[in-house]
């Protein structure tokens, strides 16, 4: 931690995340989802720049509430003085947990990628176990993983396996219920010299929500693009979020060379998970000082940001069929923190018949692994309640959001069908049902 830390402080490009530029205006206090629901967390103003003024590198940490920062970045986006509050919190969290030690539970929650392949291969058994009340009880009492929280089920084959095995030249039938338009007016999706793009799908798409990956590939192919999957690992965000800089950096060091190779062969890289994307685009260089990241970041795009760019140039396949659905869209915190606006909402509004509203709520309360932790579950649910009320007011058939954590939480809170926006876009491009 100390070495990573000092490295990043040496960077000349590092923006002044100086606690002293805070003018104590309390705007961040208006948006913090955690201090709104619990007095246990003093809020961004105190926890970030307020406490930072008393922190000295030699002293041991006394910030016992710092672990309650959910890492949503909403305070950063509200601050007119440019204080990177959530980063101050993250550093303080890392120091606190480094000194106090991390529970075994946190290791499990941040290393699921190690056993995801196996879990997926034996998905029938895994899923039986993950749903089993006795197993959940044990996880709850031994590991303090909240038993009321559904553990995500594993799918087989994985996205990567599906991608490798599918017929190389379309048309192909998708595993689900849609197939793609061939051609469409004015489009030649499968010409020989198609432009290639690389896809960073992320762990959750690979083993738990394979259809998100399929839909991404199908939409991109329907836009005449060939999709390449560069070798990739977990982006490391779960570790970073838990203050484990060292572990997160290790993951970054594995990913960047592979992504860099794709970039240097002329490819843009797309991500469908806004959390993974935010991690690679901003945290890899900013916080983890991983060499080569800046070059990657310049060619890394959110999936819908990329589609919006296609549209801007008149190259987006907009031969949508009518989709008479009532949809509510929730922009995840990490999407907002990417600073690209709401491109999924912009694109989905092009689909005829689709009634789509933005959900006016701040944060879903899941915070990645935060919502699985027994001691944080109630806070996570309280934050989520505000989102649930906003969804109830809109009364949608389906909820869409770009982040897997948000999707888990919204399913948990509402019982509604919750999808990635790309899945609806794919449906709008499909010829038949």
């Amino acid at each position: 931690m100390a070495t990573v830390n000092s490295k990043r402080m040496d960077k000349k490009t590092w923006p002044k995340s100086n606690a002293d530029v805070c003018i104590r205006c309390a705007t961040c206090m208006a948006v913090c989802p955690v201090s709104r629901v619990t007095p246990l967390f003093p809020g961004p103003k105190q926890a970030g720049p307020g406490a930072e003024r008393f922190r000295k590198s030699g002293d041991s940490s006394v910030d016992e509430w710092i672990d309650l920062c959910i890492g949503c970045h909403l305070c950063d986006m509200a601050c007119s003085s440019g204080v990177n509050i959530s980063e101050l919190n993250l550093m303080a969290k890392a120091k606190y947990l480094d000194e106090k030690g991390r529970p075994l539970r946190d290791w499990f929650l941040t290393h699921s990628f190690l056993f995801a392949g196996l879990a997926s291969f034996f998905s029938a058994i895994t899923n039986f176990l993950l749903k089993n009340q006795a197993v959940k009880w044990i996880a709850d009492s031994l590991l303090r993983i909240e038993r009321r929280r559904e553990l995500p089920a594993y799918q087989s084959p994985t996205f990567r396996q599906w991608f490798r095995k599918r017929p190389s030249s379309p048309p192909f039938e998708k595993g689900g219920d849609a197939c793609l338009p061939l051609g469409g007016q004015g489009f030649e999706p499968y010409s020989k010299d198609r432009k290639k793009v690389a896809y960073f799908y992320g762990c959750y798409t690979n083993t738990n929500e394979v259809d998100v990956g399929k839909a991404t590939v199908q939409v991109l192919e329907a836009n005449g693009l060939e999709v390449i999957l560069p070798p990739q690992e977990c982006c490391g965000l779960p570790m970073l979020g838990n203050g484990n800089f060292k572990g997160a950096r290790k993951m970054g060091l594995k990913n960047v060379p592979s992504l860099l190779k794709a970039v240097r062969s002329g490819l843009d890289i797309l991500f469908s998970s806004t959390s993974c994307g935010h991690m690679i685009r901003h945290d890899y260089s900013h916080l983890l000082a991983i060499p080569g990241t800046e070059e990657v970041a310049h060619h890394l795009f959110d999936l819908f940001e990329f589609l919006r760019n296609l549209r801007e140039r008149g190259n987006l396949n907009i031969h949508f069929k009518e989709l008479p659905l009532k949809i509510a869209y929730f922009p995840p915190c990490h999407l907002r923190s990417l600073g690209i606006g709401l491109p999924a909402l912009e694109i989905l509004r092009l689909i005829p018949g689709l009634e789509i509203e933005n959900i006016e709520a701040d944060c879903c309360g899941m915070g990645g692994t935060f919502g699985f932790k027994k001691e944080k579950y109630e806070i996570s649910q309280e934050i989520g309640k505000d989102l649930k009320e906003a969804i109830d007011r809109l009364n949608p058939e389906i909820v869409l959001t770009d982040c897997e954590g948000c999707r888990m939480q919204i399913r948990h809170l509402t019982g509604l069908k919750v999808l990635h926006p790309i899945q609806i876009l794919r449906d709008a491009l499909s010829d038949t049902k």
Partner: protein, 404 residues
């Protein structure tokens, strides 16, 4: 990405500019370094609190414009100001709407225990106007931004402080308290407590945190439980009524397809001759260029970061526009705290359509306008004109941009 208009700044003036352009069907990007200063300053809408108490606002404004030809209001004019305020109020439909009483300033109590003049008042504060009625002021233990006695004593009212049953001995923030109060069970308890403590008072004043989403529902429910009228009293930041204004604008703008980017500052502008072509937004390590036909600079003053100062001079960091200011730093401040400090009057000089001008009145950029408190020629703190200037000039800048 290319837009018809890029608005820089997410305070009330920027939001009004974006609204006005979006209403005319324009493609708009609004970008803010933070979420603007609505939660810092605004609870009600001040237009011109400085005019005589009994004066109708229109008469007061008209006189003001005559006497202050360089004031932002003089550029917008009476009709423009009136249109802009109508546009603002039309965004806030019942149950949470803004009203004015007899086209005059009304006096409402504040967290500092004084009555202060203001013009447009949200429905939740109307019952506190003028303070004729005997009121009981309610504060909460642990909420340090509002002291019931401090408000009540100078106004010869009575103050009580309630303990919050579920959070004993804890500090509690405005947003947490406003969320508590949205819960029926919590209101039942405080309603009962307040009712017990009434002693002939015919109204009850709470700090302005009766919920973010449905403040009128909260107010009416409390009235039913307590049996007398309830009103909100503006207090220290973060302002919950300011959040309501911000949220309403945001909701409306997103529905209209306006792209909102909050949290990032402009690192560079692309200029070509006397035109601005685009802005670069830096989010390390990525820098993105957004281009547009027109630009509105609504970045505020010192708190919002629209104006900056070093030891020698005050400057505008985005375009480096000339800032009208006293010759040297010694002249920024007077000796006494309550004196009129020249630093409050610094700002950007513009022509009548709000395009910044340099020496000899020459327009600097053809397609850039300035709006809000960054403009020169006002002293909004003293005039009690902050929100009025923001609303009127935000509206006026967008209207002039597109000749609407």
């Amino acid at each position: 990405m290319h837009y018809d208009l890029i608005v820089m700044g997410m305070g009330l003036s920027g939001l009004m500019a974006a609204r006005t352009a979006a209403e005319a069907g324009k493609k708009v990007l609004i970008i803010g370094k933070g979420m603007g200063c609505l939660t810092l300053f605004s609870n009600t809408i001040d237009v011109l609190g400085k005019i005589p108490e009994e004066a109708r606002l229109k008469d007061g404004l008209s006189q003001w414009i005559q006497d202050h030809p360089d004031h932002p209001y003089s550029k917008v004019g009476l009709i423009g100001i009136d249109e802009s305020l109508s546009s603002f109020t039309s965004l806030f439909q019942s149950p949470y709407s803004f009203q004015t009483i007899g086209d005059r300033n009304s006096f409402i109590p504040t967290g500092a225990g004084i009555m202060r003049p203001t013009y447009l008042i949200p429905d939740t504060m109307v019952a506190g106007v003028s303070g004729n009625k005997k009121a009981l002021i309610v504060g909460f233990k642990g909420f340090r931004d509002f002291y019931a006695g401090y408000v009540a004593n100078p106004l010869k009212w009575r103050g009580v402080t309630l303990s919050i049953p579920d959070v004993p001995n804890q500090e509690i923030s405005a947003t947490a308290l406003s969320r508590w109060i949205e819960k029926r069970s919590f209101r039942e308890r405080i309603g009962e407590e307040v009712k017990k403590r009434l002693n002939g008072e015919t109204s009850v004043g709470f700090p302005a945190l009766l919920g973010v989403n449905d403040p009128m529902g909260v107010k009416m429910d409390l009235e039913e439980k307590i049996g007398v009228e309830v009103f909100e009293i503006p207090t220290l930041p973060p302002s919950i009524p300011g959040m309501r204004i911000f949220n309403r604008f945001k909701e409306w703008l997103i529905r209209r397809g306006v792209n909102i980017l909050s949290g990032y500052s402009i690192s560079k502008v692309s200029l070509k001759g006397r035109r601005c072509e685009g802005i670069h937004v830096h989010h390390p390590p990525v820098s993105t260029l957004y281009s547009a036909d027109h630009f509105i600079l609504a970045t505020g003053r010192f708190m919002g970061g629209g104006l900056k100062a070093d030891r020698r001079r005050i400057f505008e960091p985005v375009f480096n526009l000339p800032v009208s200011q006293p010759g040297s730093q010694e002249k920024w401040f007077e000796k006494s705290f309550f004196d009129e400090h020249p630093v409050h009057r610094v700002g950007i000089l513009t022509d009548s359509s709000l395009r910044p001008i340099g020496e000899a009145g020459k327009v600097i950029f053809e397609n850039v306008r300035a709006a809000g408190t960054i403009l020169a020629g006002h002293y909004c703190l003293d005039e009690k004109s902050r929100e009025g200037i923001e609303i009127a000039t935000g509206y006026w800048a967008a209207k002039n941009t597109f000749q609407i």
